[in-house]
Every structure is written in C-alpha cells, then in structure tokens.
C-alpha cells in the first residue's frame, strides 16, 4: 500500500509541476503579461464597483461604472496590442460580449430598483467576463475571491 501511495504522490507532484510550468511557460509567451494581468484585474475591480453601487442602491452611479468598464476594456485592448493576431481574434469577441453584458446591467439600472434582479444580471455579466479570462494562462487570471487591494478590503 505504501508503495502505491508513494507512486500516487509522485504522480501528483509531477502533474502539479507540469501544470505550473506549462502555465508559466504560456504566460511567458505573451509579449506583455504584466500589462495584461493588470488590465484584467481592472475589469474585476470595476465589476466589483458595479456590485457595490447596486447593493448600496446607488443606481445613479451604475452608468458611470459602465463607462469605467469600457475604459478598462480599452486598457485590455491596449495591453494586447503586441500579442498574436490569433489570440487577439479570440479575445475581442469575448471582451465585446463582457462589455455588452455589463451594459445590460447599466441599462437595466435606469428602470429597475430591485437589487436581487440587478445582481442576477450582474452575475451573468461576471460569467461573460470569466469566459474572457479563460483565454489567458492561469497565472494571469484575476482571482475573483481575492479581496481588493485597498486597506478597507471592501468591508466584507
């Protein structure tokens, strides 16, 4: 049994090492991985801003957050400038889909004051955004569970 366990652990270790190495290697293939990582984090930040404005019932601010989301999307495009045409061709439709999903939340906030309904629409937008993140190596994908960088950490 011990031998089997040892072999199992060894196989897991090799697999873990391979996955980590592969993620790092593919991140290194990108021309500007740091810029891409930063701009993807900006998308998450603005998405969280949407959530805060909705839960605080500050609906008038939601269109402003959408404007910031489009700016963050443009920042992603700028960061992607030097990347391969193949990757850009994959990223653009998903980025557009994410922007469209957040626009839907913004448009809805003009009439809808039901926080639950708006949050449900926001959850759909987050799914669209995550589909965009899936195109990038794991090392560059923002962790949605990480607290924001500020000292306040979003007050939970």
């Amino acid at each position: 049994m011990n031998g089997i366990h040892r072999k199992g652990f060894a196989a897991l270790a090799v697999l873990g090492f391979t996955v980590t190495f592969a993620a790092q290697a593919s991140a290194q293939q990108l021309k500007a991985p740091d810029d891409i990582k930063t701009t993807l984090r900006l998308l998450v930040q603005v998405s969280n801003d949407f959530k805060r404005q909705i839960t605080n019932k500050n609906f008038a601010r939601v269109p402003h957050e959408f404007m910031e989301y489009t700016e963050a999307a443009d920042a992603v495009r700028t960061a992607m400038k030097g990347e391969s045409a193949d990757l850009k061709a994959k990223v653009e439709p998903r980025l557009k889909a994410a922007v469209a999903a957040y626009q839907k939340v913004s448009d809805m906030s003009a009439k809808e004051t039901d926080v639950d309904k708006l949050m449900a629409e926001h959850a759909k937008a987050v799914t669209a955004m995550n589909a965009l993140f899936d195109l990038f190596p794991a090392a560059l994908r923002p962790d949605p569970n990480l607290p924001p960088p500020g000292r306040g950490r979003g007050r939970g």
């Binding site: 930063t38 701009t39 984090r41 900006l42 930040q45 603005v46 801003d49 805060r52 404005q53 605080n56 500050n58 008038a60 601010r61 957050e65 404007m67 910031e68 700016e71 963050a72 443009d74 920042a75 700028t78 924001p148 960088p149 500020g150 000292r151 306040g152 950490r153 979003g154 007050r155």
Partner: protein, 159 residues
C-alpha cells in the same frame, strides 16, 4: 511754489495712508509669526495606479504640526476621480455614506471632517494643508461613491 506744496501735501497724505496700513499689517505679521514657529511636515500619498488603494496607506506626523499633504492620482486608464479625506476616529463609514449620493463632495461645514483635498482626475495632483489633531489614529479615505470601502488608510498622529 503752490504746485510743490500741493505735491508735498499729496505725499504727506500718502505717508499718512501708508502709516495707517502699517499698524494693522504689523499686527498681522505678529499673528503670522506664530505658525512659522509651528512644526511643519510635508506628506505625500498617491493612488495605486488605477486600483482602489492608497500608496502608502499609513502616514505619520506629530500633533500640532502644520501638514501639507499632496495627493497624486496615478491612474492611467479609468476616469474615476479620487480625493483624500481625513476624518475623526470612527467616522469614516458615516461620512462616506453621507456624501454617497452627492458625488462624494465633502461639505465645508462637516465637523467630523478634519481635512480634505478636492477631487482629482487621473494624472493630477491636489493638495491640502491642516494642523495635525491630538495624538491618535485618524482614518482617511477617498469619498468617491463606492471607493471608501476599499480606498482607505490611517494617519498616526504622535505626541
């Protein structure tokens, strides 16, 4: 001769006027001397690029110091505006909430607010000057709606 007298009369009126102004100005200069004896400190703080965080998020100065604080908005991509607002201990959330529906603009007569800068656009710099309060830890934050929940810090005022 008459014009000369007239000139001298004008001169004496001018002298009188200068004399009248000299008394209050010397009084003003006296009152200005006191702040010059006050300890002074320059503090600098900035946004963490476009992210909702201050860098650094802790500042320190001595009580009674005349502080000149400069805030630099280091954002490049987002049009979000930021500012720096220093409030009494335990008042951050209440002040943040009270300006939430007013674009985060701080009213000039809020007794919970010690000092604040105007709102600042990306790449810009704003400044405020204040006398450091009594010893203690004072929270500061950005009052743009939604930012205060993350973008905050502490000013440690020492004795």
């Amino acid at each position: 001769m008459r014009p000369r007298l007239f000139t001298s009369a004008r001169l004496s009126r001018r002298t009188l006027l200068v004399g009248c102004l000299a008394v209050p100005s010397s009084v003003i200069q006296c009152t200005r001397r006191q702040p010059s004896e006050q300890r002074v400190a320059d503090l600098a703080i900035e946004s963490d690029g476009d992210f909702l965080a201050f860098r650094p998020d802790e500042l320190t100065c001595a009580s009674g110091t005349l502080v000149t604080l400069t805030f630099h908005h280091r954002g490049k991509f987002l049009s979000a505006r930021h500012n720096w607002v220093l409030v009494l201990p335990g008042q951050l959330e209440a002040v943040d909430k009270s300006v939430e529906h007013n674009e985060g603009i701080i009213p000039t007569d809020d007794p919970r607010v010690i000092a604040w800068t105007p709102m600042c656009d990306k790449g810009g710099m704003v400044m405020t000057r204040f006398t450091a309060p009594a010893r203690g830890d004072y929270p500061f934050f950005c009052s743009t709606p939604g930012h205060g929940e993350c973008m905050q810090g502490v000013l440690h005022v020492t004795a």
